[in-house]
Symmetry: D2
């Protein structure tokens, strides 16, 4: 199913080369100010054409509200936002159908959906749909601020191609005429203690669930993460300092027993290299049943990780907005 959440519920739809992609947000509190300008910054951050390493595809991504906003405020009814797909060239893709692109969903999509899938530009599997996640994030961030004006949810690239100097990692890819992966870290500050549940609705479970909805993510770790596996307990444990929950260290990454503990929530994700690399590659020619060499033409990101931070913030924000509503830290109607 293409939906997620319990009280703040997100549904996404659309295809890369269809008329539009969109999102329906159900359960959004009533009374939140919302207009198209609120979306500009985050949508620009997600776009290509700005940074070295992202595609020049131009997308005039203005959110169009189909429902749920009235007189500039959310109404409490489902909030529907669409983004039109204006700048697509379907012709680029149709002839490639015989060559399922390595690292892409082309082949599995075709098998799963019996060949009925919209295969143009990845169709429903396209990274294009992350604009819907970003839009949901803009709304979710507003909800987070209802709980505490000091909440911040910020993701940054910490590594590209193994280099913490990200410009250096990117240059390696440019020099190699190849794509490259990266690491993105997200930090959420000033969250209330008590969000999440033991076991299936742990804060980690819900965040990880949403994070793996972002294409190209191959790993996630909270706090010390994989490094914790190498530690002793006496080192890893964070000593409680006061009744607000502050701990002397934060190896746990702000979550204990599945529940936020009043410290910064910190997690990192691994982003694989962009599947569409300029390099020649091999794949099966479906028509001939032979493995053949081919290359992906067109505009592509050298490093998709560069686009991930704003998307990561968005999914973290909508998971946390839902948890805030569940914990009644945010009202269903703005007072």
């Amino acid at each position: 199913m293409n939906s997620f959440g319990t009280l703040f519920r997100i549904n996404i739809f659309g295809e890369s080369h269809g008329p539009s992609v969109g999102v329906v947000l159900d359960g959004c509190p009533a009374g939140i100010s919302l207009n198209a300008e609120d979306f500009v910054t985050d949508i620009e951050r997600r776009k290509g054409g700005i940074q070295k390493g992202t595609t020049p595809r131009k997308e005039d991504d203005l959110p169009i509200f189909l429902s749920g906003v009235f007189n500039g405020k959310t109404t409490g009814a489902p909030l529907t936002i669409i983004f039109e797909n204006n700048n697509t060239r379907s012709g680029d893709y149709e002839k490639l159908r015989s060559f399922p692109r390595p690292g892409h969903a082309d082949f599995v999509a075709s098998q799963k959906f019996g060949g009925y899938e919209d295969y143009r530009g990845g169709g429903h599997f396209s990274g294009r749909l992350t604009v819907c996640l970003v839009a949901a994030g803009v709304v979710a961030k507003k909800i987070l601020l209802l709980a505490n004006e000091a909440v911040s949810c910020v993701a940054t690239i910490t590594e590209i191609g193994g280099e913490t100097d990200t410009e250096k990692g990117l240059q390696k890819a440019i020099d190699a005429k190849d794509s490259v992966g990266g690491i993105v870290e997200c930090v959420v500050t000033n969250l209330p203690l008590g969000l999440g549940e033991p076991f299936f609705n742990s804060a980690e479970s819900l965040i990880a669930h949403a994070v793996f909805a972002i294409p190209a993510i191959k790993g996630i770790e909270f706090g010390s993460g994989f490094a914790a596996a190498k530690m002793f307990g006496s080192h890893h444990n964070d000593a409680l300092q006061n009744k607000e929950g502050k701990t002397a260290t934060n190896h746990a990454g702000g979550i204990l027993g599945g529940i936020t503990n009043g410290n910064d929530l910190i997690f990192r994700v691994a982003v694989k290299p962009t599947s569409s690399t300029p390099k020649e590659q091999q794949t099966l020619n479906i028509d001939t049943d032979n493995v053949e060499t081919f290359s992906v033409k067109g505009r592509h990101d050298l490093c998709i990780a560069l686009r991930v931070p704003v998307v990561l913030e968005a999914v973290a924000a909508f998971v946390l907005a839902d948890l805030l509503l569940l914990e009644q830290q945010v009202g269903r109607v703005l007072k």
Copy 2:
């Protein structure tokens, strides 16, 4: 909520020192042979007292069927299995309430549930509840075999305390009189292509969601995982070889676009060191509001990662059993 799944749905309940812990499995296909002996192997694997590094606490964990089994076969009605808690000593825990244990949920639980939580032995947050996950896994593994008799789902410890020679890592902890973390890898073979959905119900999303329901897990990666972040695309991409979906390499870990691709499904998790270490530690004394030194007495695992493999198999199996039912690869009634 303490439930998970769409068609094969798992609900767990219970506390460490309550009368019993249990699991209700809803949506289990009718006609599957099931008796208490089917659970022995996996429950023994989860128990302490067997391997160096796990606690000697003895648990005669016989599953008791309360519903859903008739004449030795599942009926299609909810399947309820409980495990009685016989070997508990509540007296060990009550006096410790003033000292929230570092790395445990004690403090957040008390804050979230207003002090009403059952705090004995971690209460509902206890690792004791993983026996419910294991029981669900036993049933789920039987469902996987309905799709393909050759399916296997096997997890193993690959690293303890940073050592791939796990005995060596364990000995380090013993020598240090401390607890230690580890890495566990799970491999599922012979899965059908096509399980999972793009975005929110990606196979990675669902597996990660369930995996972070296991206490002490701090990270998960699929295929090359975090290493992918350092790779070039031309290296990371797996070249398709045939129409069954086999690829020349398997950096993707068996999932593309959120969907199983016919190759081995591979993921690894980071397990933090057991929070209850023999070492003295610091925490807040709730009564005095001072940070004080204390030590956790009693029986505890040096390396909780040793108990994780069978639990990891279980959660992978019930996620995949649900996906098989969703994809109609398994019928609702055994023929």
Copy 3:
């Protein structure tokens, strides 16, 4: 939440005087032929302006596909259909805000949503959104036919204003210059035996749930329904005749133990009189806090029950389509 269903999931959004209303259908099988013409008949049946007793408001309701259809067939990705709102006159409504209309949601909506609701023409509560239900029904009916080409799902008005001669009942309302209620019956034939579950997912539970999503419905009964309450058991029981499940009578209305039994599924609903009656009425003047006489101007249906049959068919169809998918009587991809 504005969504419903397990595998075939319907989400509706929009307001009477917003830019459009719409529906996202998630889980629709791939490969079903779908084009705008498929919707014409059912959408026309729902419209006013055709029969005596319905409003002359003209709605050129052409479905616009935003996603999920490619080359004239469903893709298996979320199917989004919107209907633009062209023929609205917001000016009619704004001045009425001080007078919550009796029988309408005006007052409760204002209280629940803190005054942020879109109050024009009933906003999100408007009967306008039933066009989304009808659209979902068009798709759902196609799914029913995948299970059995002979399935039919037909609703008819059986009574208006207490008269089984419906023209007579309608004339009474015209003569009285008042609105009037009615009874609508839905019969589904050639359904497979075995749809639905005991208790919470009984076929009756799910159908009733969906039916009460239709505005103005105040009651539902299956088979003999309320008449059963007056019967003896020996009369009400339906004697099983053969292994296909056929019974000598059908007082049960095709459902036993929550599960379809192979006979015609029959239910009836009570539709209240249109709340907007031409008669003068009393309500609270919110500004003066006095109860005052007022009258609703504008175009309104004398008998909203006349529009209900196609909507009733639609909700029955999408509940049953979901149950067919759950019972694996319909595949996720058309062969």
Copy 4:
């Protein structure tokens, strides 16, 4: 699925002749006093052996808490309550398997679950499971009182066999040596305005959904219900009297636009005659494939409607408890 609810979630399990039946309540607020005695009154009301017309089967139904209660209060963790099945005679049922009882689920259950179902005494379809609903209701009624101490939720039989003098209706059945149906009405007073949502989560949708989980219910109507279908709008509309939402009449039954409007919530259900009548009946002999005469031996209720009021209160209470939590009228932890 055998579960229901969003925040206050009920899961039921068990069979008539299995070891026990039970309920898991997830999302119950922490801090509510709860002990076995709280259940006595409602469980006694549900029992047979008390009133003329109900079965003499004796059930010592003491609730056994498996989880979620600690020191006499709910903990916020899943609350599990079981009831042992002590007084069952399986021998009565096994020989009847060739004769699917008319009006029962025997035949559909066997077809749906492939013959694997527990067929003793109706198995999972048994009215025995309504004790689980009643137990959930006891907890739910406590939650309702958290919102307003004056809330009451009371159901009564208003008609048996068509007679409003219920003793008379019952005597008709006794004289006829037959079973008989009835009408039960439920009234909930002092509910807050604002519970429920437009469309799929309307208060009517949720209540009807839960009500049809009660075996033998064949119809439900809110307020004037089916009588509304015969009314004019000017008569049916309830005139708003004040800003608390009070209306001059209550034809709507306390719900407008799917949302409680501050007046008494009123609904009635039709209960079919007990399927197991003392009369001889006809059914298919599965072994011979002939329609034959048979009679159901043993203890049975003449009028199952007599047991329904407490069950009806229970399902109304847990739907409303969930809506109170959703609307944040009740906290997740008792202050």
